[in-house]
Amino acid sequence: MLEHESISNLTHSKTTGLPRKRFYRARAHSNPLSDSHFPVPISPSQFDYTLHYPKINSSKKIEFADIGCGFGGLLISLSTLFPDKLMIGMELRDKVTEYVKERILALRVSNPGQYENVSVVRTNSMKYIPNYFEKGQLSKMFFLFPDPHFKEKNHRRRVISPHLLDEYAYVLRVGGIIYTITDVEELGVWMKSCLDGHPLFEAVSEDELEADPVVKLLSTATEEGQKVARNEGQTFRAVFRRTAPCVLD
């Protein structure tokens, strides 16, 4: 998928060779419930790593997932911070996904040997997470500035919900970390309360957050985060660890 190149020079900057974002603008919000048509692996064992990570030893598995990765800023930062880990962005909007693909390809070309550990798929993460990852495969999941879906009746479209957390707990290994951040206070409170109420997650302590280099990226690395920072907006963060189930149920 990443290999086939169909984008003309027009859409890429002449000087940097990177894709220009304005050619990949798409509708701001997607409805994750509407039936879309894109290929989905039948099971994690059928996800084709060689397409996504052609230079990486094929026995390695993806460990980080950025859900609703948008234009991919976080992945780009993580890629060099964790050169040994495979990571993937999951994005619902077609054009945005195309943009991220092109961005990664361009970075691989201009920085030989780097960015080989990062890729992106177009998918509805709310439906197909178990098709991509096995039980306990992931060590980090990211949900940065997700769509707020304010109306009560649309709360079930939120990408963090009590029931979806069951699936995230399934793909995260014990000790794995889920990172969430938003500039919408109501959503921040919601995400934190969902995580607090879930038996398989516990809050990560402030000391640990201080020591975790990833935490700083949450508000600075993504396009949405940078926009919020420019407008000097407040952010609300919830970072939780996957715990072992209590033996007594």
């Binding site: 409805n31 029931h163 038996p199 189930p245």
Partner: protein, 436 residues
């Protein structure tokens, strides 16, 4: 808004038709059939039809699921009227009526009879604590509260099933997913611990059954799908053990060169109590396909197809008790579009639905019982079918109505090229399967 549209169009598709359902008391003391909003029960102990007692006048819309508890003390029915009705099988009184927010698509009762679980049209599974089914009928008629325990994100759940040891609840959906979840001691707080996903089907999963035996008490899971396969799973790990392409087999039977015309979605499954045989109902296959299931080698293979002489009998639902070696089948559908056949159902029974010892001769002894040989005889057929004899013409038309309705129910609109590609790939993948 888009959201509502989706719901409405789904609803239209769903309201159109409801296949007839059949379920058998675990000791074959009674047999129940649902056609449309009509619940019919025949008491085999007394040899008479049952008059159900319900202050609220029974179901108001199509019934989508019926089930006995393991002990046989209760029967549960639920469907499009958003009601889950729990009936005592002594008094045949509706003891509880649980209100669901959405229409109900599937039901399961925990093995100990403590909990009734149901799934709604939004993919949410609810639990109701009924406090055990033993002294159930003396319990006061009370409103029981349903708690959501898990959810398949916006996919319709087609089946719910408890594992033989009662530890897991398995849910299958219209998207090809099968989820195995630990059923906790206090399920009201939710069933959060997903044990595995059984992924491999490339179309909606229409039915589930467990196969277990003395040697394999926890057994394995079998599933049927719109991809015209039946699959055998190690549900503990989610790994696929075997795939039986029943669609191809059914197509071969119609060797009149019109193989493409066979709509071969699997509509229902029923396993013998020793797990050695699995009966498979296929969307437009007249008769029933029997699969041999070898638990020690973990394989599924076609044993034979039992034809029904003299009529085009395409079963819509299957049932069996745990003690009597009979397979019960019903064919029928109700729909607002086919008023004439509103309540038409045909019941047939196959004998010898039991252990095969791998002997081919035994397999060939499966017989479709004549109407007068069916337990309960004519009174049973009168009660469950609505009428005793079904005119030949009416039967042919009913068969057509059933086929159309099953197609509407099971086949989702048009496939895009992409999706077709995806299905094709799924088929090829099967050939390269390895057992882990």
């Amino acid at each position: 808004m888009e959201d509502n549209n989706m719901e409405e169009s789904e609803q239209k598709l769903e309201i159109e038709v409801a296949p007839a359902l059949i379920t058998v008391h675990p000791a074959q003391e009674s047999v129940s059939v649902a056609v449309g909003s009509n619940l019919r029960v025949f008491n085999l102990k007394d040899g008479c039809g049952v008059k159900l007692i319900d202050e609220n006048g029974g179901h108001k819309d199509s019934i989508r699921a019926i089930r006995y508890s393991k002990s046989g003390h209760l029967l549960v029915s639920a469907g499009d009227d958003k009601l889950v009705k729990i009936w005592g099988t002594n008094s045949w009184r509706c003891v509880h009526s649980v209100v669901s927010e959405k229409r109900v698509s599937a039901l399961a009762i925990s093995n100990d009879g403590m909990f009734v679980c149901f799934a709604d049209k939004f993919g949410v599974v609810y639990v109701v604590d009924i406090g055990g089914d033993y002294d159930f009928e003396n319990a006061a008629v009370a409103k029981k509260k349903a708690f959501p325990i898990l959810s398949h994100y916006c996919s319709i759940i087609t089946r719910l099933e408890f594992s033989p040891d009662g530890r897991y609840i398995v849910s299958a959906d219209r998207d090809f997913k099968i989820r195995v979840t630990l059923f906790p001691k206090k399920p009201e707080n939710g069933a959060h611990e997903i044990h595995s996903f059984c992924l491999g089907h490339t179309e909606f999963v229409s039915c589930l059954a467990f196969v277990s035996s003395k040697d394999y008490p926890n057994g394995f899971l079998v599933s049927g799908s719109g991809d015209s396969t039946v699959r055998l799973w190690d549900y503990a790990s989610g790994s696929l053990l075997d795939t039986c392409d029943v669609g191809a087999e059914a197509g071969n039977l119609h060797s009149n060169g019109k193989q493409e015309d066979i709509l071969s979605a699997v509509t229902d499954l029923c396993a013998t109590s020793d797990g050695s045989l699995v009966a498979v109902a296929i969307q437009s296959l007249p008769g029933i396909m029997l699969l041999k299931c070898k638990l020690y080698s973990r394989t599924l293979s076609v044993a034979k197809v039992v034809h029904v002489a003299g009529e085009t009998f395409i079963p819509t639902s299957l049932g069996a008790s745990s003690s009597v070696p009979l397979l019960w089948m019903v064919m029928g559908a109700s729909s607002s579009n086919i008023h004439d056949f509103e309540s038409l159902a045909r019941v047939r029974v196959v004998s010898g639905f039991t252990t095969t010892n791998d002997s081919e001769s035994l397999v060939s002894e499966k017989l479709v019982l004549a109407d007068k040989e069916v337990p309960g005889g004519e009174p049973l057929l009168q009660a469950l079918q609505g009428k005793l004899t079904i005119g030949k013409e009416a039967f042919v038309m009913a068969a057509e109505a059933v086929q159309t309705s099953m197609r509407n129910l099971l086949i989702k609109k048009q496939y895009s090229a992409e999706r077709r590609e995806f299905r094709k790939r799924g088929r090829n993948d099967k050939k390269n399967q390895t057992i882990d």
